[in-house]
């Protein structure tokens, strides 16, 4: 255990190293570049660490998949347009059940937008490209959680063989604050191509992403979806904050959920009955838990830095479970401060 002062990007890098990551492929993009640069520096001092700077994000994703097939805990970090470009290899990772870890620092969009902050990559990161979006997405809210969930992502990926994403943002990556490094237990990697659990000796593993018959693919997907559902209950995480007697329940995720916490503390000091439901996994979403909690709530307020990408998930999760009034506060690609949230609480309560 060691408490240090670090930026979010420092904490992400440290978590990956502590989790035993052995390979990073990437193409620099703000606000995640320091991770690539930090890995390059670490790799220059430790020959067991592989670093490949690729020509673009698609190649980075494919390169990391190659590393995983050969037995490296490989990972990638990107943002914004890089997240878009990387979706082709990440769809392949889904198809082949490759335990890749992906760090996403959301920035403002569309297109180049800003290098600063947004929550506009929720749909893209949760669902990805073609396919069913069988991918775990964590949404940490502060630097400590960045460290904790990046570390955890490697264990979850190598346990369940689904791609794991840490959906962060530019604020989190660039903030300097305290963090405690408490390296836990990490699972050792193994070459996926020679996975003894799947194969008899001497057999070759033919990982496929291409099928001739629709029924063939249908069967594979059925099994993958069944695995996903079996896993979902075990990995779903959420946090409840002052919910017990709340009349107004806020739904928020990531760093915005932390701004909401600060606002709720101020509101509570004024006697306002407001609480927070905050999914830590955006995928799988804590559907059961959110439905249970909204039952006796009078008003719901969903807050996000995009135009309803997160709110749509909330609405679909709680559909039919509550008669509460539903409000939304959207600020696409802009930071949301505790002060603004407090104003909204006072407006709706």
């Amino acid at each position: 255990m060691k408490k240090v002062l670090a930026t979010g990007n420092d904490a992400v890098l440290r978590a990956a190293l502590d989790a035993g990551a052995g390979m990073f492929c990437g193409y620099p993009i703000t606000p995640s570049t320091e991770i690539l640069a930090g890995w390059a520096k670490a790799a220059s001092k430790n020959k067991n660490l592989v670093f490949v700077q690729t020509e673009d994000e698609a190649a980075a994703g494919f390169g990391a998949i190659g590393g995983i097939l050969a037995g490296k805990k490989a990972w990638v970090a990107t943002a914004g347009m890089g997240n878009v470009i990387m979706q082709d290899p990440l769809s392949l990772a889904e198809a082949m059940r490759i335990p890749i870890v992906v760090y996403i620092a959301q920035r403002g969009g569309p297109s180049t937008g800003t290098v600063i902050f947004s929550q506009q990559e929720v749909v893209l990161t949760r669902h990805g490209g073609n396919g069913e979006g069988l991918r775990i997405v964590y949404s940490p809210g502060n630097i400590q959680e960045l460290y904790d969930y990046v570390f955890k992502a490697f264990n979850i990926a190598w346990k369940y063989y689904f791609p794991v994403f840490i959906l962060s943002d530019g604020y989190l990556g660039k903030t300097l604050s305290e963090v405690t490094y408490h390296q836990g237990k990490s699972m050792p990697p193994h070459p996926i191509m020679l996975n003894e659990h799947r194969l008899a000796a001497g057999q070759h593993l033919n990982l496929r992403n291409c099928y001739s018959l629709e029924e063939e693919l249908g069967e594979v997907l059925k099994k993958q979806i069944a695995d996903w559902e079996k896993m979902s209950e075990k990995v779903t995480e959420h946090e409840e904050f002052y919910v017990k007697d709340a009349d107004l329940l806020i739904f928020a995720h990531g760093s915005v959920s932390q701004a909401a916490k600060a606002a709720i503390m101020e509101a509570r000091a004024k006697g306002l009955k407001v609480g927070l439901f905050r999914p830590l996994t955006l995928s799988p979403f804590p559907i059961k838990e959110s439905r249970k909690i909204v039952k006796n709530i009078k008003k719901i307020l969903t807050i996000e830095a995009s135009l309803g990408q997160f709110s749509d998930i909330v609405k679909s999760a709680i559909f039919g479970a509550t008669g509460a009034l539903y409000f939304e506060f959207f600020k696409p690609a802009e930071g949301i401060t505790p002060e603004e949230i407090l104003e909204k609480i006072e407006e709706y309560l």
Partner: protein, 196 residues
């Protein structure tokens, strides 16, 4: 709940605004406080108004950004307009008198303190330590932590450079002392007692 003290520093790119922000945070960490620092790292970083957001608290700080500042430090004229949104009635507004005239800030309604940090640095030290004067002035204005801790934080941040250059080392430490003294005198003149 302990409310964090919220500080905004704004100036031209190159005035060392982000160094002030980061070193303030490092000092707070050394002093055992909770702290956050986030730069405004948009296009401004490449020639424009540069802004740093710092919070220091005895308790946890949930979120790094905020709408209103308790202390606002403005080091160039065009940052005056850019930072008006961070002012509330009880903001302590510190500005550099070489860059900004009292007329530039006449419509700002909160406690205003004009300091001669840049002029002093040019005359008695070297111009590039002006930001260290303001760093120390911020710390002393709200008694965030000791002046010794400011020096420790500086060593942590730019110690490699300072250890190679004794003269620069001395100039930086003199700037720390000067900044604390300057704000102490200015606040006293403004009728507020400070116990540094």
């Amino acid at each position: 709940m302990t409310k964090p003290l919220k500080i905004v520093i704004a100036g031209e790119g190159g005035q060392g605004v982000q160094v002030i922000g980061k070193t303030l945070t490092v000092g707070a960490f050394i002093a055992g406080k909770h702290t956050t620092f986030i730069p405004n790292y948009g296009v401004e970083q490449r020639g424009g108004v540069s802004i740093a957001f710092v919070q220091i608290s005895g308790g946890e700080i949930p979120f790094p950004k905020f709408a209103k500042a308790d202390v606002l430090v403005v080091l160039c004229r065009r940052a005056v307009e850019r930072t008006k949104t961070y002012i509330k009635p009880d903001t302590l507004y510190i500005y550099d008198r070489e860059q900004i005239s009292s007329r530039d800030v006449e419509d700002i309604e909160c406690q205003k303190i004009g300091l001669d940090g840049q002029e002093y640095a040019k005359k008695y030290l070297i111009s590039k330590v002006a930001n260290v004067i303001y760093l120390s002035a911020i710390v002393a204005s709200k008694k965030l932590y000791s002046i010794e801790t400011v020096k420790k934080a500086l060593m942590k941040e730019i110690g490699d450079k300072l250890l190679q250059d004794q003269k620069l080392h001395q100039l930086n430490f003199k700037a720390v002392d000067a900044g604390a003294k300057m704000i102490e005198v200015a606040l006293k003149e403004a009728g507020e007692k400070v116990n540094v």
